[in-house]
Amino acid sequence: MPIQYYIYLCLALFSIGVTGVLTRRNAIVVFMCIELMLNAVNLLLVAFSKMFHGYALIENATSTTGIDAQIFVFFIMVVAAAEVSVGLAIIVMMYRNTHSVDINFLNRLKN
């Protein structure tokens, strides 16, 4: 399968995530959309990794080219998990004070 398909798919997923962040008003949904963006990147990284690995195999049957991208994916997952733990804690803290997770509520600092 050509790499272009993967790129289009990932860009579509990423754009859905961006649109969600910009339009949704529920903090948790916004947060999920951010995760969607990160996972679109993960998918693209794995696809690129496979592509470079395929190229390298033609010249050298035991090549490990492309493995660094897959390791990068693990790092992204771990960091995303760390972000989730902090982010959910912040959302819970907000919920305790305002009894809502609507980010429209957050406009006190403007003036």
Binding site: M37, G87, N97, T98, L106, R108
Partner: protein, 457 residues
Amino acid sequence: MNAIIISAFLGVVMMFASWSIKGENKQKNIALFGLIILILANLAQLNGWYVADIDTKNMLSFTRFGLYTNTLFYCLTFIYIWINGEEISKIGNHVADFYALFFFILCGASILTSFDNLLMLFIGIEILSIPLYILTGSDKKSLFSNEAAIKYFLMGSFSTGVLLLGITFIYGATGSFKLMPPDASIQYEQFMFSGGLILIFAAMNFKVSAAPFHFWTPDVYDGAPTVFTSFMATIAKSAGFIAFINIYLVQYKAFEKTWVIILPLGIVSTLLVGNVTAVFQRSVKRMLTYSSIAQAGFMLFALYGTSNFANEGILLYIVVYSLASIGIFAVLIKMKENSFEAFHGLAKTHPLLAFLTTVFLCSLAGIPITGGFFAKYYMINAVLIAGAGIWLVVVAMIFASISVYYYFKLIQAMYFVPGTPAIGELDKSYTYKLAVIAILILVLGVFPNLLFNYLYF
């Protein structure tokens, strides 16, 4: 390497100290002691002594410049904790946790000064940002703090997503995460390569709060507890700058033709937004956040060159700007409210404090014999050496003179408007600690070379 290992370790130590050692003062002293260890370990590495000799597979490269920058960050954090220790303990129930977060931030900063791989850039930025989200929201009962934390968190992770997409595109075009100048002999996939560069540029601009990606800064800095604003606006932000310069000079320089338009646009709009908006603020804290955007515009000048002036200039700028900001925020913490009215008549009741505030403000504005003057001079000279055009310098000068207006508005409020200042309790020793900062600023304003000697020998 020493600094990265030991700062992470000290973070864990502080977390244990949180419940095993009682007494806020004791915990603060442990943190200060830890910072001294960190500074010594980092200096040891400068002289070729390692805690653990780890092969980083070229993911990190330790240059003299990077290590020296680390030392400066640790010294600034030392001064910051030394002055603000008591204020930090007024927020939340577990002070040592905040110190632990500071050490984790310093760990991220040490990675950002020495990364040689886009993976390490990502890890460094995240280690730096995630503790900052917590610090922003640390005042759990305050709605402002909550709002600032959630805004910072959502926008910060959004920009992380953009950064990652940029890194992935660069990987797709080059097949490597290594930080290297593009190879002229290879024809890269143009769409992906330039797309990746632009996305990383945007994300880094966001992290250092440069226009047009500055919109989060005023709200977040305003809502966060003032002690932590002081840390975020100085040390954390400077680490972002070092990373930005690092990546820009390696990967973007080859495309100077393209960036010759985008970079000045970014700098001019940062200066414009920061300075002009700061004029209209009625809260001192909010004025300082906009001024920190404006100062970011000046720091971006370091992207122009690899000359000595750019390298030395960014270090001097970081140190002087951080010292002055820590000082002015430390004064602001003692005020009962953030408005300009709170400062009315301060010179009558607290003459020394008012004088020190004047020194900090003059340094931020870049008045001679304070350090801010030479910092701005070095940055502008770096631009001239790089040959970026005289118009940029003229624009920078105009905006610097606008900045004098809003800084001096505060001086005027202190000296020439009668009234009673809304100031809380103030120890004598607190004022003397601030005097030490002011003396440092004045010394750097007369002998800026003191800072650079160590960079070369």
